[in-house]
Amino acid sequence: MQAAFHAEASTAADPALSLNSLRKSFGSTLVVDRCDLSLKKGEILALLGASGCGKSTLLNMVAGFETPDYGTIVLEGERIDELPPNRRNIAMVFQSYAMFPHLTVADNIAYGLRARHVSRTTTQARVNDMIHLLKLDGLANRYPAQLSGGQRQRVAVARALAVSPRMLLLDEAFSALDRNLREDMQLELSLLLRDMNVTTILVTHDQREAFALADRVAIMESGRIAQVGTPEEIYRDPTSSSVLRFLGTTNRISARVSGTVSGPQVRIRDRIVFYPLSDATPAPSVLPVWVDIRAEDITISNAPTSIHETGPATIVLRTFLGSQERFVLKLDDDQIVVDRPQQARRNELRLGPGDRVYLDFDPSSCRFAFAQ
């Protein structure tokens, strides 16, 4: 009966997981507010946000460690929000890896299979497969205390995938690793998860990690999902200044909006910088605004080149970052960071501290926020 319902309910077009208007508060603090999300089978979604934005709470509700105050969670056609965590068949990799210190690598990996009363021979075979798949050969009889951080993370992933979970959750699973190791593991895991077609949600505060692993990224901000899309979509077309500010190196320049016959004008200092294009432009009645723009979206030159320029700024620092060079400029009281791709440098003018330059940018790459 239940199996029939199951087969009927989850056709290929249906999402593997859907979260419907989830809400959760702790005391009087609303931590997760009306979150809707859906994932296709095999899709990897990153929940990206600053600490305290509610992303871990959202993940814990999917895992079953927190109960939503409102809303439903449907996994493969089955409503799971009232099931205890041990009956959801969702595996999680924790930031601390949560190794069982008294069990060897092999027994850590076998734990979930034993909890499911899988036969001894099947368990053994599955454990061997996972050990091989995660390159843990030769470490089966070690205890977690005898492993490096990277090896522990592999064991945590092997232990989670060994039970063939309906979903995998990664909670800041890479943040304890060194940068080089982290990037290697991200690549390896990304390939592995795609290969095994595991539906995955990963929670991170690291934009690089989210972009490196995920098919889609959901930006979370004070309990709400601010924007969901592929990495390109949210990077190229952030819907708000806060999303923009979360991705890459950004600048916040103080400006004013005033009304003219041809529409609102954005002025930085006393110069008319541009006539904004988008509907999201603040009305002229809101005078002080912030203009948010990425460091890489500003170009600099030693003479004004278009109407969007801001007037002269002074270079106070130049740093070499490998694939690009970074200038720190002073525009009156504002400090502005500009990144310039390194390969373009050959036919551009050499700039250094003390030089006066003009900033120029495409208005469509700016977002606005009300200045308080």
């Binding site: 009956r87 959801r88 068949n89 595996a91 949560a98 069982f100 008294h102 979930g112 205890y143 205390a145």
Partner: protein, 288 residues
């Protein structure tokens, strides 16, 4: 002496105050007791030097002494059992508690240690004696017409011993259980373990090292406890420490009491050693 070699001895120099106290007042008397156990007693209360195993052979052959050993080991094992069963829930709550709740619980565990054992026994007398609070209540409620013998009985002594040694079981156990953090419990549940599975595969095995330390402390404590058996125990259930005191002080049989004392130390040492070996065997991970 050059400064370099002085530095090599520096760690040992720190031990001198402790050694100055322990060697004359603990190690030497202990060695003397051990030496005395091979001497013989004479009726005048003097020790006759020599070398004889007669004292040891007496305590192994005499049913009275054997009975005292048996009683004490049995009582120690029973206190171990009762206190470990009582400690698990308490230690679990203590290990999971945070902030001021945790501080309060810890304080309730420590408090009995701060109060002199004599004062605690007086407390029990007030509650358990023939005219004590419990008996008065029982008589008042009509549950019994004559007061029940609770002081100076085996159950009364057990109550006193468990009360005295429970903190020594709770503290190491709570320390072990505290190492099981939320993430480990969540991982254990999330991977499909129900409550029983998580308890038997994760919580219990991870608590073993602490439980064994607790058992060692309680066992060694009960085996050599003098105050509780003398003040709360039954005259028909002799325990070792009062027996040693009786032989030494009342009977002036220093050689015999030395032999009993040496045997107690040997039993405690054997128990501690085998418990350590057991931990190394069942929890090799704990010493990594």
């Amino acid at each position: 002496m050059p400064a370099r070699s002085l530095q090599r001895f520096a760690p040992w120099l720190w031990l001198t105050p402790a050694a100055a106290l322990l060697i004359p007042f603990f190690v030497i008397p202990l060695l003397l007791t051990f030496r005395n156990s091979f001497y013989s007693d004479d009726p005048m209360g003097m020790l006759i030097p020599g070398f004889t195993l007669a004292n040891y052979s007496k305590i192994v052959r005499d049913p009275y002494y054997l009975g005292v050993f048996e009683n004490t080991v049995w009582a120690a094992l029973l206190v171990c059992l009762v206190s470990i069963v009582m400690s698990y829930p308490l230690s679990w709550v203590l290990a999971r508690a945070k902030g001021s709740g945790r501080a309060f619980l810890l304080w309730t565990v420590y408090l009995p240690i701060y109060v002199s054992v004599i004062m605690r026994v007086f407390g029990w007398i007030f509650l358990l004696s023939d005219g004590g609070l419990f008996n008065q209540a029982l008589i008042h409620l009509g549950a019994t017409t004559h007061p029940l013998q609770m002081m100076n009985s085996f159950p009364g002594m057990m109550v006193g011993l468990v009360h005295r040694y429970l903190p020594l079981m709770v503290l190491p156990l709570a320390t072990s259980l505290r190492k099981i953090d939320d993430a480990i419990l969540r991982a254990a549940t999330g991977l499909g373990g129900n409550r029983w599975f998580v308890w038997s595969r994760i919580v219990f095995p991870m608590s073993l090292p602490g439980a064994v330390v607790g058992l060692q402390l309680v066992f060694a404590g009960v085996l050599s406890d003098y105050v509780i058996p003398s003040l709360m125990g039954s005259p028909h259930f002799q325990m070792l420490a009062p027996a040693i005191y009786y032989e030494g002080i009342t009977n002036a049989s220093w050689a015999l009491s030395g032999a009993i004392a040496s045997a107690v130390i040997a039993i405690v040492a054997l128990f501690l050693l085998s418990a350590n070996l057991l931990v190394r065997r069942v929890a090799p991970w704990a010493s990594l």
